[in-house]
Symmetry: C2
Subunit: 291 residues, 2 copies
């Protein structure tokens, strides 16, 4: 591969974003719902050809679930500690103009974790100097990723299915009827954070029911409390296992602000990082390293 311009695709399970990037500048972005879950492995040659037809006949770097068992190829994970140089060395080349970025796995401390796609954004934030070379990074979402970066490499990381638990509780069971409201950063959310910091989720969650039965909290605030509870337990656990007091949060503004409020309330210092420049910096650097 040579330098510039190229097409980068952040290919998630549900959605994908395609960028045309020229010397680190984004010329074009397209987002659609053709995530890996909507495609079989056999669909990718046509999907990639169609992207080139629309965006230009350019080299392509693909990151995310495209490299998983539900994607085009099952690309082996690179073991942490790893930086962009290790990822570049392990690119899975489909042909001389198309490659897939491998994900990361963490097998340290007798535990195990995996990520696919987030590594580009996280390490890109470091490459672009949006975060220090030694930092705690947080990428909130359905499955919230927390990564410790040391000397520009991800040394360990943890995934918490915080967002998914919220969705499950909202979707069925005892509390679903109470959790229909919007989540806002107010008193109920902060009550939830304090309760979540006790890290006793199954009991704290029943407290939502109790508050409804005894009339202790308006059910319109129950979703905010529940979100605070789940985010608070996540943030408290992560701040508890690191020396870092600063958490660099890569997220859309809404969810990012909730995590920032949680980090502040639980004794850390949040810093908000724009995730798109981080991805662009990471994928651009990968392309340079692979050239």
């Amino acid at each position: 591969m040579t330098s510039d311009p190229f097409i980068a695709v952040d290919w998630g399970t549900t959605n994908r974003r395609a960028f045309v990037i020229d010397r680190g500048r984004v010329l074009r972005i397209e987002r659609d719902a053709q995530g890996a879950a909507t495609l079989t492995a056999d669909d990718y040659p046509a999907a990639v050809a169609e992207l080139r037809e629309r965006l230009g006949d350019l080299p392509m770097l693909l990151a995310g679930m495209v490299g998983s068992t539900i994607g085009w190829r099952d690309v082996p994970y690179v073991a942490a500690p790893a930086g962009l140089d290790q990822l570049a060395a392990a690119l899975h080349r489909i042909d001389d103009r198309t490659a897939i970025v491998p994900g990361l796995c963490d097998r340290s401390d007798g535990r195990a974790d995996v990520m696919r796609g987030e590594e580009v954004q996280l390490l890109g934030a470091v490459a672009a100097e949006l975060v220090p070379r030694n930092a705690l990074l947080c990428q909130p979402g359905t499955h919230c990723k927390w990564a410790t970066v040391e000397n520009s490499r991800i040394t360990r990381f943890t995934t918490a299915m915080t967002g998914e638990l919220f969705a499950l509780l909202r979707g069925g069971g005892l509390l679903a009827r109470q959790l229909g409201g919007d989540v806002v950063d107010g008193p109920a959310f902060h009550d939830g954070l304090a309760e979540g910091a006790k890290r006793d989720l199954a009991a704290s969650l029943f407290g939502i029911r109790v508050s409804g039965v005894l009339g202790l909290r308006d059910d319109r605030d129950a979703a905010s409390f529940a979100s605070g509870l789940l985010i608070g337990a996540d943030v408290a656990a992560r701040l508890g296992e690191t020396d870092a007091s600063e958490a660099h949060i890569l997220a859309d503004p809404g969810l990012g602000a909730l995590y920032a409020a949680a980090v502040s309330a639980l004794g850390g210092r949040p810093a908000m990082i724009d995730s798109q420049p981080a991805f662009v910096a990471g994928i651009t650097r990968l392309r340079e390293l692979a050239a």
Copy 2:
């Protein structure tokens, strides 16, 4: 009311059990699916008449969800600390032959919890001397109840929706496909207990997915691990907030054995208590006190 014989009904949300009790001896038991969720308030006079027709034209004491907002009457909670004497004094009398046992609420320590029906069994275990007058009691289930009994009164209690979280995870979301297996008290369950004791549920649960992806654990063992994780977090939290090392477990043998294994593994001493004699002793004593 006079003494003996009488009909006692443990009227739950989904099921009910009706006992004919004579001087503390059970003459007859019937169990059916006519729980409170299947009845409106207007259905109860006929439901009670039908029970009397079948079991004998006797006085009746009704406990459980029959006394809730989804039951016959919304009977106010008695505040903990409370024993059988306080419950007897607060019986809700429908007529001179029919009464509903109130539930308990706990508003101590800035927290709140409620129970309906479990109080009869828990305090009955104490009345029957199946457990000491000062003890930690555990009633596992969809919503696991933990009660601290001091001087034969429930002084505080906590509900953990441990069983419900398991059901939600099994019913949908990322892990559902892995959690179809049986839960058994083996190595995977004990691995789950140790992980659960970290009290970091949202992260530990994602580990189930990771183990599947990386092939670290047979998916047939995933349900046992998940159950251990949830029960372990529950037991660790409860043992952590009490001085008691012994936990008296009132449950069916299957679930009771899992909780007993968890209590042992996490440094406590389990004692299994037969829950039916506990209920019978509790409701019989209530009837004597109310006479």
